[in-house]
Structure formats: C-alpha cells, structure tokens
C-alpha cells in the first residue's frame, strides 16, 4: 500500500499550514513527521486521516484518489494526542467500538469481536483492566487502550498524533520501545507526528522534518543527522554550533580557522557553518589552522561531558563533547587554553540579502587523518 502526497496546500485564516508539501510513503515503513509546533505536521496527519482537507493537491493511495473518501471509509487507525477515549465506555467497549459499528454485513459475530478484543488487550498488557473506565487509568494505560482501539479494525495505515506528548519521561521511553516492537511485529505502515527529535530519530525508518508548512528534508535518521539539507534541520536536530565563515581575500575563514577549500569558487562571500559538539577536535597542533579557545566550564552529564569553550577570534562560545572518562586523561580543567578545530562541518552559503542557498550545501571533512 503506497501513499503519494502531491503539492498539498492548506491555509488557515492567519497562516499557511501546508505549503506545497509532497511526500511518498512506502508500504510498511515507519515515517516520523518531525517539527516544532505550527510546522504543519499535525495538519498533514489529519488530512491523511480525513479529518481535514487540503485547499489544493492530491493524495493517492495505490494510485486511487484518497481524498475522495471520507474518514469513515479510509480504514485507518488513529491515535490522538489526548487519547480521545470514549469516556463513558469501558476499556473493552472502547476497543470493540470500531468492530461494533460496522454495517450489518461486515460486522463480525460477537464471539469474534470478543476474541479479537481480548487478544489485543493481552497485546497491550491491559487484560485485567478490561472493565475499567478511562478515568480510572493512568496516561500510559489510556494511550495503550487508544492504540488497541485503533488496531482493532485492522487498518492499512496507523496514524499517531504526538501520542506520548502528555506522558511522563519514563513512561514515554517505555512506550516508545514498545511501539517500535509492535511495528516490527505487525509491519503496519505508520505515520508518527512528534516535536521530540530524539523520539523521531529513535523510532523511525525515515524522518520528514517540517517547518512553517514545508518539508525541509526527508531521509533516514542517519542522513538527517549527518547530512542535514537546510540550516533549519541542522539547528533542530541535535545540538549544533553555528558560526559564520567569511571570505578573506581569496580564502574562506572564520576567526583563526579555515576549511582550506572552496567548492563555490569564489561566488559567495559569506556562509553559515554548523559543527556538532562531537565534531570538535581538541588540542590541535599548531601546524594546522585552529581557534585559540579558553575552556570556560565543564558540564558533566552522565557519560558525556559538555565543554563550554570561548573562542576569542569569533567572540563566541562553542560547545564540545567528550567522554567523561577522557576528562582527566586530557587534563581538562576550567580556565585552560586550548586549540580547537572542527573535524567536519556543514556549510550553507549566503547571498547578498543574507538568505542561505540550501542547494549549494557543502559538507566538509578535515583532510588529514585525525586522532581521536
């Protein structure tokens, strides 16, 4: 079952929720729609569910017009952010709902319904809560009921709208893993909306990063992380250091460091550069270009130590990551001076108006082999 979304536009009175969005969803894949609030990801999901319609554009399911069908006919399973459980029905009745409202001819017998519901209850580990009401359940339990309810109708596609947003961190992690296992077992095409990039990168086969109604990039988590296509993706995913590289005569440089190359052949005078904390190399020998930095502060976060480095020539503070166990080995202490340089970076040139030219992205790697 393939889904092709083409040139979807949706405007609400004040703003453009979807701006020329096109996306293909492969059968059986787990796709995450990732972005900040207002990026359009929920709108996109609701359009897939039939709870909203685009102004222009098309959605084809196996080549047929999906938008011509109503939400009722689409055979999708949806899990809402706030569960939307039927508050006056028990857990059992909630899960059975989709089967009970089927038209006479298509309705399974009572026995079949019961058996299927019990199987699902066991799957979501709520068999002893069958007769409880939603108000008597915890958030995590409610979400599992919502999932079971969506799965009961054996949908072609599963849609989840920030399903773990309202839950405690611990519960979220557990449910995340569990959802991934479920997906691997069922192989159901799943579209998952979230603003939590950690969640998206952990769960999804592919991630579509959205911002302001546009899809900034679609790709596997590795590609998204290591080869971000736009400045937004760089900044939204993971931690990143940002600085400006300027043309200094014939070469591009930022403070004391130079990438020693120029794929744009002199076309641009300025570019924005992104370096991840783990890409900063410490204690660079004087033979290679680097920044003179002062180590301001060390933040210990479990196995990783975050180093706050002030770069005088940029008048900027950068963050570098090292393994905590390396702190003493490298003799790191606050106040010390160090030469620091990137091992790799992603650069986007800027035109005269200061707008980045995303398709001229340059992924730079340091040439000489680099010791750890």
């Amino acid at each position: 079952m393939t889904l092709e979304l083409s040139h979807l536009n949706r405007r609400f009175a004040e703003y453009q929720a979807l701006d020329d969005v096109s996306l293909d969803i492969a059968p059986g894949e787990f796709l995450a729609l990732l972005g900040p609030s207002g990026s359009g990801k929920t709108t996109l999901l609701r359009i897939l569910a039939g709870l909203d319609y685009p102004d222009t554009g098309s959605v084809l399911k196996d080549g047929k017009d999906f938008l011509a069908t109503t939400a009722r006919e689409r055979n999708i399973g949806m899990v809402f952010q706030h569960y939307a459980l039927f508050r006056h029905l028990t857990v059992l009745e909630n899960i059975a709902f989709g089967l009970r409202v089927r038209p006479w001819r298509k309705r399974p017998s009572r026995a079949v319904i019961r058996e299927r519901v019990e199987r699902l209850l066991k799957r979501v580990q709520l068999d002893d809560h069958a007769r409880r009401y939603p108000s008597q359940l915890s958030g995590g339990q409610r979400q599992r009921v919502a999932l079971a309810r969506a799965l009961a109708v054996e949908p072609d596609i599963l849609l989840l709208d920030e399903p773990f947003g309202a839950l405690d961190a611990q519960v979220r992690v557990t449910l995340r893993r569990w959802l991934r296992e479920l997906h691997e077992e069922l192989g159901l095409t799943t579209v998952f909306v979230t603003h939590d990039q950690e969640e998206a990168l952990e769960l999804a086969d592919r991630v579509a990063v959205m911002n302001n109604g546009r899809v900034e990039q679609v790709g596997s988590p590795e590609v998204i992380y290591q080869q971000p296509a736009t400045p937004f993706v760089c900044e939204f995913i993971g931690k990143v250091n940002r600085f400006t590289v300027r043309r200094n005569g014939s070469a591009l440089a930022a403070g004391g460091w130079m990438p020693q190359d120029d794929p744009w052949q002199g076309k641009y005078t300025e570019a924005v550069a992104y370096v991840r904390p783990e890409q900063l190399r410490l204690a660079v020998p004087t033979s290679q270009p680097a920044w003179e930095t002062r180590l301001r502060h060390i933040y210990l976060a479990g196995s990783v130590a975050h180093l706050e480095l002030h770069v005088g020539s940029l008048d900027q503070t950068l963050e570098a990551d090292v393994a905590s166990e390396d702190l003493s080995r490298l003799g790191l202490h606050p106040g010390m001076e160090m030469r620091v340089a990137p091992r790799g970076a992603v650069l986007f040139p800027r035109n005269d108006q200061g707008v980045t030219i995303n398709h001229e992205r340059w992924i730079w790697h340091a040439r000489s082999p680099v010791p750890a």
């Binding site: 039939g50 709870l51 939400a71 009722r72 409202v101 309810r149 109708v153």
Partner: protein, 287 residues
C-alpha cells in the same frame, strides 16, 4: 444553574462581626425567599385540608392541570430537538454568523414575556398577518391551545441549547472524530458517543425548560383568551381565582406549582452535586 461552588477556604465564622454578617444574610434570605414560599402553603391550607382538596379537585383545576401538562409535553421535546441541533451546529462546525445565531437563540431570554405573547397575536390573531387565512379555514391559533404551545415554545426555546452549547464546546469534537475514523456512521456516532457525553446536561436543560414551560404566565396570558376549562393553564387559573377573591382556590393551585418548583430545585441540586463537571459552568438565565 450554578454548580455547587465550594470555596477551598470556606471556614466557620469566628469573629463576632462575621457571625453578625452571616446572621443578617440568613435573615434576609428567610424573609425574602422563604417567606413568600411559606405564604403559598399557609394560605392554601388556611381553611384546612378539605377545602384545599376540593379546590384542586374542581373541574377547572383539573383541566388547567391537564392543559399545562399537555403544553409542556409538546413544547419541551420540540425545544430539546432544537437545542441539540443548534448545539451540534454551533460547536462542531465553523461558519460565519455564529454570533448572530447565538444572539437569536438568546433572544427569547431578553424579551418581556408579554411581548413574547404579543408577537403571536400579531401573527395569528384575527387582525394578524395570517388572521384572515386562519379565519377562512376555521383554524384557531390565538385563544386556543396552539397559541399557548407556540408562546411557550418561544419562551423556553433557549434553555436546552444554552446548557448544551458551553458543554459541547468545552468537550471538543475529538471523541466524535475518533468515532468517525473508527467507521461509525453519523447516527451511530451521535447515539453512541455524543448523546452519552451530554446526557446529564440534557436532563438539566429539560428540567429547567419544563419548569419554565409549566410556570409561564405573561406570554400565555396574552394568547390565551382566559377561556376557563379550555385555554387556561395552571398559572392562569391561579390568576383568575385570585381576581375572583377565591384565595384558597388560587393558593391551592399555586401550591401545586410551588411543589413543582421545589421538586425542580431538588432534582437540579442533585444533578449539580453528582454530575457538576458534566454540566458546564455558565451564567444563570431564565425569565
């Protein structure tokens, strides 16, 4: 029409000033609210039980009771259907003119009861818009039961809608959307999801609507013609007996209405107490 509001910081009055204030307030309530209620029963039973029962058993009283029940039995269900339809349209869809629709629904609240009756006289009375046509076809609306029903519908129109709209607004449409996605048809969604979620507010609205329908006086008085035994509801019967100086008779019928009022209050309080959060908070209304 309020939920039972319990402040977290309510305390026993300790200082003498507070106690005095409290006693003054309670005295005021007693004199102002309880006294009239007590008067009704005191006057009804002034001459003892037998005259009271006789007053109620009179044929005029019986037909007044019957007519009151009939009018309510027609007006209330019609307004329930309207209230549900209006609430569904207002809270589940976006369209222009919502404020206008809301204002129209509230209109009968802000209109004097006499005017509520007047407008129907002007429409269906002999000199009204449809007067000649009705006379030609020998259909009586004003000074007949249909007029009573219409005026009552007008007066009690907002009650159910006003209870449902804030509640359905607050509940949101997620459950109904979920039902649709799961494959429910429109009516399945309505009866399995929407109705159960609003049932207590609906009952509450019906209660208030009914109390008003049975007790309405001004509007009904205008359209009724005061034909004893035919177009006289209980409140009108009360008035007529009072004007004829039949005080025991008037208060006897009034006592029935007062009992209805007390019953309404009791059920209302019960509903608020047990299902308060399923009946949204809102400002009081009612004429």
């Amino acid at each position: 029409m309020s939920r039972h509001v319990r402040s977290r910081t309510a305390s026993w009055p300790r200082r003498i000033g507070h106690v005095a204030l409290l006693l003054f307030a309670l005295a005021f309530l007693l004199a102002f609210l309880v006294a009239p209620l007590a008067t009704v029963f005191a006057e009804a039973f002034r001459e003892g039980l037998a005259p009271y029962l006789a007053a109620i058993r009179q044929p005029e009283a019986r037909s007044a009771i019957g007519l009151t029940l009939l009018v309510a039995a027609i007006a209330v269900p019609l307004n329930v259907v309207f209230g549900v339809a209006a609430a569904w349209a207002m809270t589940r869809f976006e369209f222009r003119g919502k404020t206008l629709l809301g204002a129209l629904i509230d209109l009968p609240f802000s209109v004097s009861p006499v005017i509520s009756g007047l407008v129907y006289v002007l429409l269906f009375g002999s000199h009204g818009w449809f007067g000649p046509w009705l006379d030609a076809h020998d259909v009586k609306v004003i000074y007949a039961v249909p007029g009573l029903v219409l005026a009552t519908i007008f007066i009690t129109l907002p009650f159910v809608a006003r209870e449902l709209i804030p509640l359905m607004e607050a509940q949101g449409s997620e459950e109904e959307e979920a039902a649709r996605v799961l494959g429910a048809s429109g009516w399945q969604m309505f009866f399995r999801v929407t109705l159960p979620n609003i049932r207590w507010a609906l009952l509450y609205g019906v209660l208030l609507c009914n109390a008003r329908a049975m007790g309405e006086f001004g509007a009904v008085s205008v359209v009724s013609g005061h034909i004893r035994g035919l177009t006289t509801t209980m409140p009108l019967e009360v008035e007529m007996r009072y004007n004829e100086y039949d005080y025991v008779g008037a208060f006897a019928v009034a006592s029935l209405l007062a009992l209805l009022a007390l019953l309404t209050l009791a059920v209302k309080t019960l509903l608020e107490w047990r299902y308060g959060d399923e009946i949204a908070a809102h400002a009081p209304g009612g004429h």
